[in-house]
């Protein structure tokens, strides 16, 4: 449905944000993971026709949307990471304007806006100017505008920023529902945002696609390489310097450390089931090639 072919984006000053990315998106949800500065937002802007790529093609149903972006824009719901609003308009006025910009008929726009304000629970605040909204409420207005035209393609960049924990869960579920018959592309650097809902995950860093697959594929790549061990707090700096630490929990008897490595880092280390965060860290840090150096294999942990 939506294809990104050999996309490269260079900014002024020579910074290459996206480097030869090729992706095909079909119905379902793609979770785009990557560290800050990985090029996710640039890729999302290119996919949503906001930014033109330096080279490469974006095709929607086989049509070039770099040359003719309106083909995609009519049926696109895009929520950027950062956006502003007109502070003296109400949410209804703002959404009405955006519905007109989308080309919706007056009746259709009214009905959709009513339902969307209900969906994002802003009906009580509908008469207040947007300048009086909190950050989370503005994010909900952003979500509502992305769903205005019942989009077939939904591109959301860090959509859960500003939402409270309950809202995050519910919004993820909403996206999951929407993905049943739409293309949904969700970008985040928070692994938990995608692990429960995305059937397809792409990890990128440095503008390149590092790995793409189902959560199971990604987990399989680090199977048997995740260890937990209780260590002396004094050893932590050396451990962190030499190995990939995915988690640490301080307890009264020491620090329980979760490590990514090929070989058992300590005699007392226990192999544990990997989760998606481990897989993500392994991919981004090339954990499969990491060799422990600061603490030799077989060294005892803190009993």
């Amino acid at each position: 449905m939506l294809e990104l072919i050999d996309i490269t984006k260079d900014y002024r000053g020579g910074k290459r944000a996206v480097d030869g990315m090729t992706m095909r998106l079909e119905t379902g949800m793609l979770g785009l993971l990557g560290p800050n500065g990985a090029g996710k937002s640039s890729l999302m802007r290119i996919a949503s026709t906001v930014t033109r790529p330096t080279s490469g093609q974006v095709l929607f149903h086989g049509k070039d949307v770099v040359a003719k972006p309106d083909v995609l824009r009519r049926t696109l719901g895009y929520l950027p990471q950062d956006f502003g609003v007109y502070p003296n308009l109400t949410s209804r006025e703002f959404l009405s304007y955006l519905a007109a910009a989308k080309g919706l008929s007056a009746r259709s726009a009214r009905a959709r806006i009513d339902e969307l304000l209900e969906l994002v629970n802003l009906t009580e605040a509908v008469k207040r100017p947007l300048g009086k909204y909190s950050g989370g409420m503005l994010r909900r207005v952003g979500i509502a505008q992305a769903l205005l035209a019942d989009p077939k393609v939904i591109i959301v960049d860090e959509p859960t920023a500003g939402l409270d924990p309950e809202e995050r869960v519910r919004f993820r579920n909403l996206l999951s529902d929407l993905a049943a018959d739409r293309v949904v592309m969700l970008s985040t650097h928070i692994v938990s945002d995608v692990e429960s809902v995305a059937s397809d995950i792409a990890v990128m860093a440095g503008g390149r696609l590092l790995r793409r697959g189902s959560p199971e594929d990604l987990l399989a790549a680090v199977e048997g390489r995740v260890w937990e061990v209780l260590v002396d707090p004094a050893d932590l700096p050396a451990i962190q310097k030499g190995q990939i630490v995915s988690r640490m929990i301080r307890t009264s008897s020491g620090v329980r450390v979760r490590l990514l490595t090929h070989v058992p880092p300590y005699a007392t280390a226990q192999r544990v089931e990997p989760d998606l965060e481990d897989a993500y860290l392994a991919i981004v840090n090339h954990a499969t090639q990491a060799v422990p150096s600061a603490v030799s294999a077989g060294q005892k942990g803190w009993q």
Binding site: V50, A99, G103, L104, S105, E115, L138, L147, F171, L178
Partner: protein
């Protein structure tokens, strides 16, 4: 403390000069230096004593360029440096600084010094341009740095300090921090630039009168009677034939003259520090009330493309229920013709937050226009009044979606050209509504020619605002460009009258021909569409 001040001022200065707009400002300064030193055969001058001007030696060229800088940079420079505090507000740096052990007076002083540095750097560019122009004009090839630079230091710099202080003071006064302050400064500037040349101006005014006396003395010494050759003039003037020249050797700085200059700097310092008494240090709780009371029709954020932090958050917002995200919208989507709703939306966006007193002003002008006699009073006085009233709202055209960061959303929306057209149409509607009183009076008075000029003006103004807003992406440029044009019209300069305000003896409009005004509007609209399209292609949203 002095080191802290210097570091703060320099940090702020570097942040300003690394912005692309600064390069444009410097280019403008070079242009000003060039305009101030025309060639012999050029048809204009900036400074003259009747039919004479000084030979382009270091003393004269330094003085003429410095005076041109004094007059014009005190206007343009004000708009350049009047974002010292608002940048810290929109970037959030202000709140970081507010949490540091930095005294309010030190913060204000650092901002003042930074603004003086920015304006001084523009003077520096003017001084270098003056040297280049002296050598290029080749009337005197001996460069005397002391004679050339002293007018910049003793005349221009004190006024730049005053300008920087006024800009800071205006920013710290909620009522003046946005568009209203921009307009007020224009009139203050006009008063200073004209009144400051008077021999009776306090503290020696802008310092011109002492120069005039010195010029006259040298003319007399060379056998030219300054009373006979005509009056001293400072400002862009068209001349029919080349001016004659005399040699000016510069002037001796008297203690009284220097004292006046120092006093001006001292006043500037006091003005810059005056906000210590009420400056809220970026505390939303204190600033909220101030900001609300200071709302004016031109209020807009300072350039942040990212959403402004929610600083004035309403307490009720925290009580808003969290989102359900459970009921999927069921209403089907149908497309239609959205042109009218887009126009309505653009009108809403354009006039958003406009206070009631502003509309009361429009109503008053409309009513008064029906009662004033003779009808020429309507076109000569009320029409210009009606078309200065919305200047702060026009200045929003082409800028709001960028200044409020809405472009991030709209970039993925279709029909960008139609939105631009709707925005222009909203500007036209506003212009027509503001000027409806004089138009009705022309209708009842069967003033067809006046109506044609009125219509051309109503098409011209939103085009002018939209082109400047689209190109600059800031609401500050339009008032800066429009006010002189309007001011010239009000003062009866017919060649720039775009609205049909000035009439000939038989009552017909004496201003620009309607076809020319229409063509200008069309060209500007063309530029708007082309630049918008170019931005979309280069994807620089």
């Amino acid at each position: 403390m002095s080191q802290t001040l210097i570091r703060l001022a320099l940090g702020d200065f570097w942040d300003r000069v690394r912005r692309p707009a600064y390069a444009v400002i410097l280019i403008a300064a070079v242009g000003l230096g060039y305009v101030a030193t025309p060639a012999k055969e050029a048809g204009w001058v900036v400074m003259q004593i009747g039919t004479y001007r000084g030979t382009y030696n270091s003393a004269y060229i330094g003085m003429v360029v410095a005076l041109a800088g004094t007059v014009w940079l005190s206007l343009g420079g004000f708009y350049v440096v009047r974002n010292a505090i608002s940048r810290d507000e929109s970037t959030g740096v202000g709140r970081l600084l507010a949490a540091m052990p930095l005294r309010t007076w030190a913060y204000l002083l650092a901002k003042f010094l930074s603004s003086v540095l920015v304006l001084s750097s523009m003077l520096g560019v003017l001084a270098v341009t003056a040297v280049v122009m002296q050598l290029a004009r080749a009337e005197s090839m001996t460069v005397n740095p002391v004679e050339l630079l002293s007018p910049f230091i003793v005349i221009a710099l004190p006024l730049m300090a005053f300008t920087a202080a006024a800009a800071l003071l205006f920013e710290a006064i909620p009522l003046l921090r946005a568009g209203l302050g921009n307009i007020l400064w224009f009139f203050i500037w006009a008063f200073i630039a004209i009144g400051g040349q008077s021999p009776n101006a306090p503290l020696g005014g802008i310092g011109v009168h002492s120069v005039v006396r010195s010029l006259a003395a040298d003319m007399k010494a060379q056998g030219i009677d300054p009373q006979q050759v005509g009056e001293f003039s400072l400002g862009l003037t068209v001349v029919d034939k080349p001016l004659k020249t005399f040699i000016w050797h510069g002037f001796d700085l008297s203690p009284g003259f220097l004292l006046g200059r120092y006093a001006l700097v001292a006043i500037a310092l006091a003005l810059a520090l005056l906000p210590v008494l009420w400056f809220p240090r970026f505390d939303p709780a204190r600033a909220g009330a101030l900001a609300a009371s200071g709302a004016d029709p031109g209020s807009a954020p300072e350039g942040a493309a990212t959403p402004a932090p929610v600083m004035w958050e309403d307490r009720r917002s925290t009580q808003a229920r969290s989102a359900g995200f459970t009921t999927m919208p069921q209403a089907s989507v149908h497309y239609g013709n959205p042109a009218l709703r887009l126009l309505l939306g653009e009108v809403r966006i354009l006039i958003q937050g406009t206070p009631r007193w502003w509309w009361a002003g429009v109503l008053l002008l409309t009513v008064v226009a029906q009662m004033v006699t003779p009808a020429t009073g309507v076109t000569r006085i009320l029409l210009p009044l009606a078309w200065i009233w919305p200047v702060l709202i026009w200045s929003r055209l082409g800028t709001q979606r960028h200044e409020y960061g809405v472009e991030a959303i709209l970039g993925a929306y279709p029909s960008a050209r139609i939105r631009v057209a709707a925005e222009w149409a909203a500007g036209f509607v506003l212009t027509a509504v503001a000027g409806i009183g004089p138009a009705l009076r022309m209708c009842t008075g069967s003033d067809t020619q006046g109506l044609v000029h009125w219509l051309c003006g109503a098409l011209f103004i939103p085009s002018f605002a939209l082109v400047l807003g689209t190109l600059s992406r800031t609401h500050r440029l339009f008032p800066f460009a429009y006010l002189p044009l309007w001011y010239a019209t009000v003062n009866g300069i017919a060649p720039v009258d775009f609205m049909g305000a000035i009439r000939t003896g038989n009552g017909s409009p004496a201003g620009m021909p309607p076809a020319f005004v229409l063509l200008s509007a069309a060209v500007m609209l063309g530029i708007v569409f082309l630049s918008s399209a170019a931005r979309r292609v280069t994807a620089r949203i």
